[in-house]
């Protein structure tokens, strides 16, 4: 039976989740996962621009070797806050809380997540954490670095450490609840016929991410709590003056914060699987390998935290174990990259904006991932740790990787979410600008790092200036490139071309209901009888040629 045949396009209805109810209360008290996704979308976009402003300040200061634009304490606060905002208030929630919330129920054929009220609660917790953090920033800011190392954070810093820590602590519960919701939903609410290996790879990625949310976030919560008490009440497990061990803080901190980087990149990898498959009309090569790689990354990611501590006075033998495991965790990511590439072989590739972001991800993530190997290699890490090499490496993963995936997903599912298409030409243009600007910003930083430029430096020796100037030039281009989608996406919500249920002609469950979807997602719960990414049943494939024009009815 043809996958497409079972799909009866729903009678187009004017009522969808956006206009089913009006009024502030219907949004602030909603239980609809789609509306909650939009609440998150607005919040994280706001924080993205705050974090971006901090980034601009950093890059402007670093144009010259002297610390002449900002005072050093101000600069220290700026880079700290750039990190905190971007990591905790943008990247970690980005794909899970927006695209994940919106799409997980739809892609598995459910009406909502397992716990809709907890979903809403998680947004309110996010907002509460955000407000506490904003208070801390406005009251005077925090200057410990986003890593909050003791004893500087517990005893020596004169900034709003406790308030910021509280904000992040609260925010962590938002993550935990989202992850819990996803795990339960994926286990118990799949539509009939939607077996595990028929799930879109985006769901596998969200599942793996949720495992990390649930297992890792509580550890940072308790770490922040202990640090805060130490600072407030002079009780100590971290400050050596109180009998404590500062390296213990690093172990506890990185036990979460390393898996956190997989929280940031796994969802993006899930999006990329969707983009590559759907915009080349071919199932992902090695589907099971990609699915299990997501799980492997989640599990192995918990075993490598010590690679942030190779020079911290950790034992040499512990360093070796962590180095070995860090190389091991790179392998599943490599497997994914090869499988995505192989998917494109003998496929049918369209150059839509989402595909461009997907391709950009593969290229930049390869660079980011391989430069991670430099840092996993002990001897080289001794030289490179705490230099700009590390900064470049993680920006390649988080911006070149995670952010590109996010933008690609946002564009891909934009018609489903809003019922409108974004302007394609502008989309492609912006993708190109972002790609160029990004590389120009961060490639020179690899060189500056190996040359010895330390990170978190407000002023630096003059021989590093050329790299910093290139980097700032790139950042300007990157910033401009980010502004463009911000403008046209908002514009499209009012003036974009209206999209129908399946503007891209794809088999995924989310495309089998109208755009925007009704509140209950599906008129009737679908029964799934086809495999993932089955563009047409195997016996009816023609490599080149027209189909019988069914798509025109859709």
């Amino acid at each position: 039976m043809r996958a497409i045949e079972t799909f009866e396009p729903p009678a187009p209805s004017k009522v969808n989740y956006l206009n089913a109810e009006y009024g502030l209360k219907s949004w602030l008290l909603t239980r609809d996962h789609k509306r909650i996704a939009l609440l998150y979308l607005g919040s994280i976009t706001f924080f993205f621009f705050i974090g971006g402003i901090y980034a601009m300040m950093i890059r402007l200061e670093l144009l010259t070797p002297q610390g002449d634009l900002l005072q050093s304490t101000t600069y220290n606060k700026v880079f700290t806050q750039h990190g905190i905002i971007m990591i905790f208030f943008f990247l970690i929630p980005s794909i899970p809380a927006t695209l994940g919330n919106f799409l997980v129920p739809m892609m598995i054929g459910a009406k909502d997540l397992a716990f809709p009220r907890i979903n809403l609660l998680s947004w309110y917790i996010y907002i509460a954490g955000a407000l506490v953090t904003i208070y801390a920033l406005l009251a005077g800011g925090v200057d410990t670095g986003w890593t909050f190392y003791a004893p500087f954070s517990t005893t020596f810093s004169n900034s709003y450490v406790v308030a910021t820590g509280l904000g992040i602590f609260i925010n962590g519960f938002s993550s935990i609840l989202t992850g819990l919701n996803f795990i339960v939903t994926i286990h118990t609410m799949r539509a009939p016929g939607m077996t595990w290996f028929r799930l879109p790879l985006f769901i596998w990625a969200m599942y793996a991410t949720s495992l990390i949310f649930v297992l890792g976030t509580p550890v940072i919560a308790i770490t922040i709590l202990l640090m805060a008490f130490e600072r407030l009440a002079h009780v100590g497990i971290f400050d050596p003056a109180l009998g404590g061990d500062p390296v213990l803080f690093q172990h506890l901190f990185w036990f979460y914060s390393h898996p956190a980087v997989y929280i940031m990149v796994l969802p993006s990898m899930g999006v990329v699987s969707e983009l590559i498959a759907n915009f080349s009309r071919k199932n992902i090569f090695g589907y099971k390998f990609v699915a299990f790689s997501s799980l492997a990354i989640a599990v192995f990611g918990f075993l490598v935290w010590g690679h942030h501590m190779f020079v911290s006075s950790q034992s040499v033998y512990a360093g070796m174990i962590f180095s070995f495991l860090s190389f091991a965790v790179a392998i599943p990511s490599a497997i994914k990259v090869f499988n995505w590439t192989a998917t494109l072989y003998k496929s049918s590739i369209s150059y839509d904006t989402p595909m461009l972001y997907g391709l950009g991800f593969i290229c930049l993530f390869t660079i980011g991932g391989m430069t991670g190997l430099f840092l996993a290699a002990l001897a080289v890490d001794v030289h490179l740790t705490d230099t700009y090499f590390v900064v470049a490496h993680f920006h390649y993963i988080m911006v070149g990787g995670a952010l590109m995936g996010y933008l690609g997903g946002l564009h891909y599912w934009w018609p489903k979410i809003t019922g409108r298409m974004y302007p394609e030409a502008w989309g492609r243009f912006a993708a190109l600008i972002v790609f160029v600007g990004f590389n120009l910003t961060f490639m020179p930083q690899f060189v500056a790092g190996y040359m010895g430029m330390p990170r978190r430096y407000h002023a630096y020796p003059p021989e590093f200036q050329v790299f910093n100037v290139l980097s700032t030039a790139g950042a300007s281009i990157l910033g401009f490139g980010m502004l463009i989608p911000a403008i046209y996406l908002v514009w499209s919500m009012r003036y974009g071309k209206r999209a129908d249920a399946n503007p891209w002609n794809l088999p995924g469950l989310e495309w089998r209901t109208q755009s925007p979807p009704p509140t209950e997602n599906f008129e009737t719960t679908p029964v799934v009888t086809w495999e993932a990414y089955e563009f047409a049943p195997p016996e009816e494939i023609e490599v080149i040629g027209r189909l019988r024009g069914e798509f025109e009815n859709v």
């Binding site: 129920p105 459910a110 009406k111 909502d112 997540l113 397992a114 716990f115 809709p116 935990i176 819990l180 919701n181 795990i183 339960v184 939903t185 286990h187 118990t188 609410m189 799949r190 539509a191 009939p192 077996t195 649930v214 297992l215 890792g216 976030t217 509580p218 550890v219 919560a221 308790i222 770490t223 202990l226 008490f229 407030l232 009440a233 002079h234 009780v235 100590g236 497990i237 109180l242 009998g243 404590g244 061990d245 213990l248 506890l252 209950e520 008129e523 009737t524 719960t525 029964v527």
Partner: protein, 250 residues
């Protein structure tokens, strides 16, 4: 997982069935799995403190033994008994709900609450004793710093004074007490939340909301309660029973 789900537009059925679930069975499965996942997060949350405890106990064994000896083992053991009993009454409450024995359900829920409050009461007594002996670490209570009286060798035994084993220092004893308060304090917070949840359940049970067709909330709260009990079962020996063989009396 693959049971026969109906595919009707709106699942008719039990008034407690939420609209996004297909049927009560799915709702119950989701609720139970959700609570298990939540308990895993709690394990990770407490885990950080258990790690700190393990580390510093191996670093300062004499101080930890001295401080542990100074805790009131009678009260601690009493609390352990109270909690274990409360887990039993909780399990009975769940059973009572499942089979429709309403009296058993109500009585056991109420008894569990009472036992929980008893635990918290005994804890409060212990905390007060620490306050009186100036064993509250750091400046947790401003103006009342950590300054216990230390037993001088040769003096007659004074239960309010800290007896330091060879190698123990007051500073490291303070570390023990911080870990003690952090762990038992966090545990107590979870107990309070548990008692709160049970109170809601009791009120709703009186209103006949739960019975054999719908008892998942009581089941999952039972899971939570048992977890909080298990955490205490780990805390008690680790905090109260160190080095008892080195010390006579208690």
């Amino acid at each position: 997982m693959a049971e026969s789900y109906t595919t009707t537009k709106h699942a008719e059925g039990h008034p407690a069935l939420q609209h996004h679930f297909e049927n009560m069975e799915q709702q119950r499965e989701a609720g139970t799995l959700g609570m298990w996942v939540f308990l895993v997060t709690e394990i990770m949350f407490f885990g950080g403190m258990f790690l700190a405890y393990t580390l510093y106990r191996s670093k300062y064994p004499a101080a930890f033994a001295s401080a542990s000896n100074h805790l009131d083992i009678t009260l601690g053991a009493a609390n352990t008994g109270v909690l274990i009993l409360s887990s039993f009454t909780m399990a009975l409450a769940v059973y009572g709900t499942q089979v429709g024995k309403r009296k058993l359900q109500l009585f056991c829920l109420a008894l569990t609450i009472v036992l929980g409050l008893t635990f918290l009461g005994i804890k409060a007594v212990e905390y007060k004793d620490k306050y009186v002996d100036s064993l509250i670490p750091g400046t947790l209570i401003p103006g009342h710093p950590f300054s216990p009286a230390v037993q001088v060798p040769g003096e007659s035994f004074d239960e309010h004074k800290l007896h330091l084993l060879p190698g123990a220092t007051v500073k490291n004893v303070e570390m023990f007490y911080w870990i003690y308060f952090a762990m038992t304090g966090m545990h107590a917070v979870h107990m309070i939340i548990g008692v709160g949840l049970l109170s809601f359940l009791l009120v709703f049970s009186v209103k006949r909301r739960y019975g054999p067709e719908y008892h998942n909330p009581i089941e999952v709260t039972g899971l939570y309660w048992h977890f909080v009990d298990i955490v205490w079962i780990f805390l008690f020996p680790l905090l109260y029973l160190l080095g008892r063989h080195l010390e006579h009396g208690g």
